[in-house]
Symmetry: C2
Subunit: 265 residues, 2 copies
């Protein structure tokens, strides 16, 4: 299982990131698992940055601080977004090194279906992929503050092992969602497509004490796409979902359709 | 050209958003053009929110204020991100109305190639699309502060007209990039795919007066994918680029490939 057995001269270098912040349990578990496979550099935002998607920071200065350096494990935190964290790692901290794998998470909450578009956990994996690094995002469909991420251990280990052994083609990264059930109840792993559901907002209006209005954004996922080949279906039915994402968002069929529009300038 | 001629009983309702902020010239031009086609509701962030991608705000309250209401033109500003602005418009301001078209921009700067992933102008169009609204993002490949957006007028008019006439299928939105050249020098419009280039960071380290370090993120697009069918090539060669984006990011071929990994839990 450990890549050390295959290449004793050099351990794989694994970059570990997240969007729940450096103190989140999920990244500690992910770093712990990643250390079984190689040398780990961990970088994460100072605090939670969920829902930041692929946001980057260029109009403000970024802070970056090394907070721990043990044998085989360096830890950094930054004031930036999760994607900033990946950029700081690849273009500054590790600019002269080859990163063999990027793993993001383990996110506290599902990133299946349309959540891939809002998720900074997934965005961090996409950013790794854009830089040519095999990259995997991990999330658990749990929303309980006391969750210990133990049920995610085996799926995370198996996917990291398979990604290191098989590699991931250019422009593709992986999005793994794990159901929150005891490991022995997991039925297996399903290769899935992204369910095309929609996040339906509920906007709640309130008044500041000074009497001007403000708004809280809430909402729920509206499940219209619950086919058996989707990530949404898989985690609902106790499977781990393994969803391949391509960073080329072009719709090839629509390219042909648009030619019929015959726009003349 | 004006849809009023076709359906005198009801003008199309057009939602206009951007990421350069409510005072940007680009959104004023876009609102002005959209008014030729119907009733316009405009909403934008208080100030520039470039590079925010699909970020949303749920851990902080959002401000929203109507700043103008003339016949056929309502204008709002918000403390939220561009995607928040779309959500506030669709789920609060216009929750009981049918929006016929969402247009985003006109962004000051290209959103071709890999910039689609970082762009909040494009993200706002994706958000409209997720809500089932035909949505188009517009950007001009210009970086001069004095640019007046006049060269973008004809391409924007033509694409809005074509989108209203033809409609856009579900889960697809359009990303239009316009070269910064006089209108008469534009060679035409090209249906394109997204160039798969990479943004290469240059991180500049500085010291705060109090002696701790901080970092500025900069960089440049590395052009390895310059094929004739790309958005990147089109705007470099004086064409308007019309790129269809699908919000399903699944890589179908990789779904087959992943089955060969035979991961057993």
């Amino acid at each position: 299982m450990n890549k050390k057995e295959k290449s004793p001269e050099r351990k794989p270098l694994i970059l570990v990131v997240n969007d729940d912040g450096i103190n989140a349990r999920g990244i500690r578990m992910l770093g712990n698992i990643a250390q079984e496979f190689g040398r780990v550099v961990m970088i994460a935002p100072n605090n939670g940055r969920s829902g930041m998607s692929h946001a980057i920071t260029f109009a403000l200065p970024l802070r970056l601080r090394k907070i721990s350096h043990c044998e085989g494990l360096e830890i950094y935190k930054t004031s930036g977004t999760p994607v900033d964290a990946v950029k700081l790692a690849l273009s500054h901290i590790l600019k002269d090194e080859k990163v063999d794998l990027l793993v993001s998470g383990i996110n506290h909450g599902s990133n299946a279906s349309i959540s891939v578009i809002y998720s900074a956990t997934v965005a961090a994996a996409i950013e790794g992929c854009l830089h040519g690094i095999p990259s995997v995002a991990f999330s658990v469909a749990d929303y309980n503050n006391n969750y210990d991420f133990e049920s995610a251990r085996t799926p995370v280990q198996k996917v990291i092992q398979a990604a290191l052994e098989n590699g991931i083609p250019p422009h593709i990264c992986l999005n793994v969602n794990i159901p929150n059930i005891p490991a022995k109840e997991v039925k297996g792993i399903k290769i899935t497509r992204q369910a095309l559901n929609c996040w339906q907002e509920e906007i709640e209006a309130r008044q500041y004490p000074a009497d001007t209005p403000y708004f809280w954004m809430g909402g729920s996922l509206q499940g219209i796409d619950n086919e058996k080949d989707t990530d949404y279906w898989a985690i609902k039915h106790n499977y781990v979902s393994l969803h391949p994402i391509n960073v080329d968002w072009t719709d090839q069929a629509m390219m042909q359709e648009l030619k019929k529009w015959k726009i003349k300038l």
